[in-house]
């Protein structure tokens, strides 16, 4: 692989992790992001399930991109996405019923996760399979990071545990609201605030540097 191709692949991979992070930058897939992130395990499980569906469906959409007429492309993408959601549904039941029960209907709802249809339509249908899958992998890692950032904070504050292990001992009074629906909005808001502040700081620094060069 040439240096240019390597750099392009790396760029495709990094796009979803940082620059276009689906949770913190594009603010997509909010339904599972807010609903299932009551614990780190749930967040990771949902993230990995979405990763499987996203990577596999983008691969198959990309493989079929030359034979799918544009009139039926959305129907085709939805069938492909629903197929991999069904697969992941069966696999989670076989791996852990506890996780299956905890995620509930949100496993099946991955089918309407706009990140996946968005990637299929905007990227996978226009790029070869490897590029499409690398981009989907980066995007889904970004999604996993987003979910984990919420799930870990909510579990630590709302239950005093991380991955089920007690962090603060028996005297800790859990901040229960954090594992209730409002907690999802509070923690997401805090993360968005942090990202926005970092972005502004970076822009200010760049502006200052630009101004310095101009002077």
């Amino acid at each position: 692989m040439s240096d240019l191709a390597q750099a392009r692949t790396f760029d495709e991979f990094m796009e979803g992790i940082w620059r276009q992070n689906p949770v913190f930058v594009m603010v997509l897939g909010m339904c599972p992001t807010l609903a299932v992130t009551v614990s780190a395990v749930n967040a990771l499980s949902m993230g990995l399930a979405t990763m499987f569906v996203l990577v596999c469906s983008c691969g198959l959409v990309s493989l079929m991109r030359r034979i799918v007429p544009k009139e039926v492309r959305i129907a085709t993408y939805i069938v492909i996405i629903a197929t991999f959601v069904t697969v992941v549904d069966y696999v989670i039941q076989a791996v852990s019923l506890a996780v299956y029960d905890a995620l509930g209907a949100f496993i099946q709802l991955i089918v309407v996760n706009c990140i996946i249809l968005g990637r299929a339509e905007a990227h996978a249908s226009k790029h070869p399979p490897v590029t499409a899958m690398v981009n989907a992998l980066g995007m889904s890692i970004g999604f996993v990071i987003g979910l984990f950032a919420l799930g870990a904070v909510r579990e630590v504050l709302g239950a005093g545990t991380l991955f089920g292990f007690s962090l603060f001992g028996a005297n800790f009074q859990p901040w229960v609201v954090m594992v209730l629906p409002p907690g999802g909005f509070i923690v997401l808001g805090a993360w968005l605030l942090l990202f926005s502040a970092l972005k502004r700081r970076k822009e200010a620094r760049l502006a200052a540097q630009g101004g310095g060069h101009g002077a």
Partner: protein, 229 residues
């Protein structure tokens, strides 16, 4: 003067081509789904069996093995075969020697957030409930979910009275959760203060299930005393 140039109209895709594509995609997807179903069926069934066994063994600690039965209007019989209308499923637990250790059955009632599904243990010797475990619950963390951690609440189920009336047609006394601190009888459940709705759901789930199951089960208890080999 030249006529204005119109952009060429894209040609419509023939219907056969659309059908062929959709047919191909459906076939590929169908194969993937069937493959995944076949590949995970055994593991998923084993997982469900294990989860059920774990809950039954938790509510009947002496249990070492279990069998699934159903109570039908015509009497009790091992589960399996044709489904009978109005049948109530229950689990018979045996100890290491193959002697009856207790009966477990599921109950469900509407809680605060959603339906609370429980599995309770029943001892025919004392005609009482000896414990319960959660099958599914979405009750508020830190409030409703105390039903499985609150020691005072769990003490209600050490010997919760579910004796039948003289005709063996229904429970002699309805099992009911009462306001915290007002329990006066062995068939009442002392609710958790602040989680009354969930406590009531547990009471109702046990009452509804026991009212259906026990009148059919108790007259035929001899059938279940020893494990069938």
């Amino acid at each position: 003067m030249n006529a204005p140039a119109h952009p060429p109209q894209p040609q419509a895709t023939p219907a056969t081509s659309l059908l062929k594509t959709l047919g191909l995609v459906s076939t590929v997807c169908g194969l993937i789904i069937v493959g995944a179903y076949q590949g995970t069926y055994d593991a998923a069934a084993a997982n469900r069996r294990l989860a059920l066994e774990r809950t039954v063994f938790k509510v009947i600690p002496a249990a070492k093995s279990m069998a699934e039965w159903q109570a039908t209007p015509q009497g009790i019989r091992p589960a399996g075969g044709e489904a009978v209308a109005g049948a109530v499923k229950f689990y018979v637990a045996y100890d290491a020697a193959g002697v009856l250790a207790g009966i477990a059955a599921e109950g469900a009632a509407k809680g605060y957030a959603d339906t609370v599904r429980i599995l309770y243990g029943y001892s025919p010797a004392c005609q009482c409930i000896t414990g319960f475990g959660l099958v599914a619950s979405k009750e508020t963390p830190g409030i409703g979910d105390k039903i499985v951690t609150d020691k005072a609440f769990l003490a209600n189920f050490e010997a919760l009275d579910v004796k039948l009336n003289a005709e063996l047609s229904a429970l002699a006394n309805e099992v009911k959760a009462v306001k915290h601190g007002t329990k006066a009888n062995p068939w009442q459940i002392d609710a958790i203060a602040g989680a009354t709705v969930t406590s009531r759901a547990v009471g109702k789930a046990i009452n509804d299930s026991a009212q259906q199951l026990l009148p059919k089960l108790l007259p035929e208890m001899e059938k279940l005393q020893k494990k069938e080999s």
